[in-house]
Symmetry: D2
Amino acid sequence: MRNTKLKMGMVGGGKNAFIGAVHRMAAGIDGQIELCCGALSADPLVARESAALLGLPKERSYGSYQEMIVEESKRSADDRMNFVSIVTPNFAHFEPAMMALEHGFHVVLEKPMTLTTEQAELLQQKVAETGLILCVTYTYSAYPMVKQARHLVKEGQLGSIRKIMVEYPQGWLSKMIENGLSLAFWRTDPEKSGKSGCMGDIGTHAAHLAEYISGLKITKMCADLQTFVTGRKLEDDGNILLGFENGATGVLSASQVAAGEENALKIRVYGELGGLEWNQQDANTLIFKQLDAPTQLFRAGQQYLSPIAKHNIRLPAGHPEGYIEAFANIYRNFAATLLASMQGIDPREEDTDFPTVADGLRGMKFLETVIASGKSAQKWTNFIR
Amino acid sequence: MRNTKLKMGMVGGGKNAFIGAVHRMAAGIDGQIELCCGALSADPLVARESAALLGLPKERSYGSYQEMIVEESKRSADDRMNFVSIVTPNFAHFEPAMMALEHGFHVVLEKPMTLTTEQAELLQQKVAETGLILCVTYTYSAYPMVKQARHLVKEGQLGSIRKIMVEYPQGWLSKMIENGLSLAFWRTDPEKSGKSGCMGDIGTHAAHLAEYISGLKITKMCADLQTFVTGRKLEDDGNILLGFENGATGVLSASQVAAGEENALKIRVYGELGGLEWNQQDANTLIFKQLDAPTQLFRAGQQYLSPIAKHNIRLPAGHPEGYIEAFANIYRNFAATLLASMQGIDPREEDTDFPTVADGLRGMKFLETVIASGKSAQKWTNFIR
Amino acid sequence: MRNTKLKMGMVGGGKNAFIGAVHRMAAGIDGQIELCCGALSADPLVARESAALLGLPKERSYGSYQEMIVEESKRSADDRMNFVSIVTPNFAHFEPAMMALEHGFHVVLEKPMTLTTEQAELLQQKVAETGLILCVTYTYSAYPMVKQARHLVKEGQLGSIRKIMVEYPQGWLSKMIENGLSLAFWRTDPEKSGKSGCMGDIGTHAAHLAEYISGLKITKMCADLQTFVTGRKLEDDGNILLGFENGATGVLSASQVAAGEENALKIRVYGELGGLEWNQQDANTLIFKQLDAPTQLFRAGQQYLSPIAKHNIRLPAGHPEGYIEAFANIYRNFAATLLASMQGIDPREEDTDFPTVADGLRGMKFLETVIASGKSAQKWTNFIR
Amino acid sequence: MRNTKLKMGMVGGGKNAFIGAVHRMAAGIDGQIELCCGALSADPLVARESAALLGLPKERSYGSYQEMIVEESKRSADDRMNFVSIVTPNFAHFEPAMMALEHGFHVVLEKPMTLTTEQAELLQQKVAETGLILCVTYTYSAYPMVKQARHLVKEGQLGSIRKIMVEYPQGWLSKMIENGLSLAFWRTDPEKSGKSGCMGDIGTHAAHLAEYISGLKITKMCADLQTFVTGRKLEDDGNILLGFENGATGVLSASQVAAGEENALKIRVYGELGGLEWNQQDANTLIFKQLDAPTQLFRAGQQYLSPIAKHNIRLPAGHPEGYIEAFANIYRNFAATLLASMQGIDPREEDTDFPTVADGLRGMKFLETVIASGKSAQKWTNFIR
């Protein structure tokens, strides 16, 4: 009988922070996780106000992540937080994550996981040492129809994969809005965001999705990166030719200056026998195009889906689930795995299907390769190991 | 500073109950409501197991709604539940709702509100007497793009309304599945569901949506009801010609035997100057067709939307919100109104935009008129007052 | 070896006439028919100018249909026109058609076939007497994916049909434009158009399509007709409940005041096992929704289609064919049947698949029933025999 | 008064030839061009049979293009063909085109225009010398909504262009079908098709479309070409990074092994202020995405379109026009320009909007650059001048 709610502490995510609120909704929707404490802002006043708005007890509204980790460690095992969710800008991922792991707390971390590949490797080592769980929120691979896509590829319904087209156009940075909008501000500042802009913010999602669905690793790439908006410090657009381990090719295109686009992540995977198409903005449909047979529309909530897709769906067909539910799938699977770990039992296989430190590290290597390829005059740059 | 979480008690919604789980997700997503107690099943064993699964304390897992209402009433004002959410089959709506109101508890109730119009009127009287809030979960009018549609009509962008086409095709009852599936079982049993089947289950949503968006009341109708599946006790399909107060006409078509359809609620409203189209399965888009100008696509999350639409959205454009989020809008608005009431202040206007006992009563009169029209040989039957 | 081009004479269709130009394009596209003569306008000057623009020889540009029929009759069998295409407003269909038949000419006629049912019956008798072919251009049933839909129903892939929803919204008459636009003018004038407006112009297409795809006859109806635009003489909108011979029900909705709509003819047919959906504005796709299996998209030009669908397609998949090609299918099938008849052989079955005088007569009875039902206070009016 | 029909002679396009039939339908639909003679096949027997099927007089069914050009030259100016339409495989374009020009005949030619850039340059010189018209059938830029897209870019509605994504996935060569299917056979044979396969067959359409809509020239590229099907002699897939003269970037992706795709040419153009999207398989809609305003759908046949778009439309909105009509726009504009030339007057500007020898030559240079880039280890290869 599973009735223990997991206790979550949050770093970042104060009032007006977008992604922190998403994490709380995602963690809260399934009733298995409760926010018990937070260091919700680097500004102690904002942290306190935010905690009050969220109904946190005063004594568990901390002024810093260090304080939170130290103080929670002192509480009894029953009472202290079980894991830390870190929803700060990129530059403030590594230190709280490392400290949390060092104090025995599991971690949920936003992507890209760190500022540098070195930091990512240190986290991976620490996870290996401690046996703790570090989950990285590559949200889009958590959609049920993405699970179905991966399942169809695995089953061989496409035959050998030949071509992968993945694109992620957004338009919200089409103008110079960095100075007015905090969301835009840190994402375009190399010190806060890392060496890449658009690619770190959204390109890494696209790469993760391509590898997740196809089960194939990118082995080389040819990147053309651009900064279209005058005065911007990081690239806001990029097109990349891809090579995969089995000889498949592809294109990854990401943009934050595709004026008029919202969040139009889309992937197409073609094999010898057919092609799959999935579009995040129409997330409950997976299109399966076949050679010499009618195109099929797989729909979330239907009984004919694979078990792994159904495991990540809450509602009957025709009741759309969206971004928060996909995000919640990560938290739900993470929580189930964590609970199993706490109970000393093996998690169910379907519960272990969430991105971990290995995905986070791979994301960092992807970004490093992208930057190297962007600067190179050679066509191909090998994926950095 | 808003930090009080509202406490919810639930009647029905034990394990395997679909709609109870939806209510809990919807209530939980925004972090303002917590489930504090429940009488989760008419079967005490199931009730207890369900409560344990949800992490409810043993002493607040009640064996019946009567027990819950009595026991919670004995608790201190700070500690007792603030409202009851009733998610039982139709036949078990009225008694717990009435008892809750009589003991001073606010109520959230599934639609159709009651078994009979008389019961609905009794609830309305009790609400008027007590000043308590009774919210009826007509989910679909809580979608943000439905709010935008209502706004555009109100603003006069369509001119005078001429025609309203609303349809709600489902296919899940295409075969005789009543005996095997509890969801289907009570919905097709007149004693548990009321005098109508398809119309009570989904037709009433369509009627509510049409009146909500257009701001117009249905004044007459001509119904053709059918039971296509042999042995079924209630209608599983119906087409209704509609007349509205301003002379507009329309069609309401609902079916649970539209084989291959999921939950394809769709509405089109045409006025002198243009037409609106909204499809629940593509909920984040509102199509605005204009005379002599390009069709416009309004999209959830965009800055150009009306304040009332934005009030019911959590995420930026391109991050789809779905059924649970729409449902959560009802809970969130209800909760904000309830909190204002508890604090003795006027709620914000946008928070009061949720369906109440008046909508529930109107729904019952709609069903009564549908049944009367279905039996009549005359073309038109006036909407029953 | 088939190398004879059929010779067409045209009544109506002078310069600026919309539908006459469509007939000429449709007749011309497949290279089997050539325009040899015409009485292109009731105004002799316009007739002559139009003939010159079309490159007709002066001596075969006639001042009236009477003159054309008489003069062409005098020509040798090799030289004279083989058939007459009549593309005048409704009121000017019957006389030239009857005279053409009386002089031994085959006829292509626009819908609705005549002004009255009596005229339609006279034409049917004359066709029966003479053995000539009279083709009525119900364009929409000539689309290849409509053929595929009919095929799937015939094959039993939907099981017994339960429900048919057909709709035909247009918006072009949303305002009072009759006085300025000749297309609108005669369509809204009872003397030129007949007793019905919207239903005669487009509703009859919808009814034909429903019966064509389903293979079922409408047996009763309940019509609500409206004239929304002040000063208009005929109905510009209507919603009709339908009953079919096998007990299936349905709705036919047509409007010319659905502001913002173009020519959005759409049909859905539901049976026990699945549903079909076809939308004229996306004509190359047929959607097949199934119980408990993914929805399938049948696409024009694919090899997996039925022979009757392929017979009506010119291009490989992905090369869209449209309205003119559908129209041309009627001419092509008519021409092949006529050629076979001229050669004294049986036409191929697939060539005989075009609407004839029987369809034209049925269309007139449909309109008569619609008008009777519209005036009746009873719910149901039986389809007039 | 325009009543002269132009006379067309055809080289290639015998029975069972796909593209020849398309040319005849396209030339025939508007009633301004008639097929007067042909050398319809390299096989004299097939040529004669094909001519008979098309109703050509025996004496104008020629055994070779040489015979046709010589014999037609001997006829009187009124009687002889006005232009030659060449619809043979690529390797048989140059010689008949050159000979036709040398004998004073205008030419319509399929793309890619020739086998080599040198041949293309020779044709361009001959056109310049003779003042004759050579039209190359880049069909897709003839769609009305493509004209509208070009118009919106020209008008500045997108601001400066930043990014162009053009893709052309087909799936029909997913398997090794060369030996059985003549269409596939010559397209994959270097001696008949030229040095490129997929890029010459469809990639060149995509490049033309990108330059046509944007008004920008490609200046550099980085091509990754693949042959996925074992035993195939030419590339069947390719992805190309693009650079444009104004600094815009882009991707061109074409494939004939994108299993399950039909003919899914699609282009997106993004500028500072918005983005355009057009999909050939939904050809009557142009999507205009705007910053901070609802997305607009421009639809063929609407009054609000630009004059150049309307010039290329035959039907009112909602009556879909397709591939043949687009193709016919080229013939219609070519014919009008040719007629003006024959009458010694200036053609109307809108009539001159069809692809000419300059477009054909640019297409050959595009292919040459693609091949060079595909072989290069450098990232960028400049567009060959």
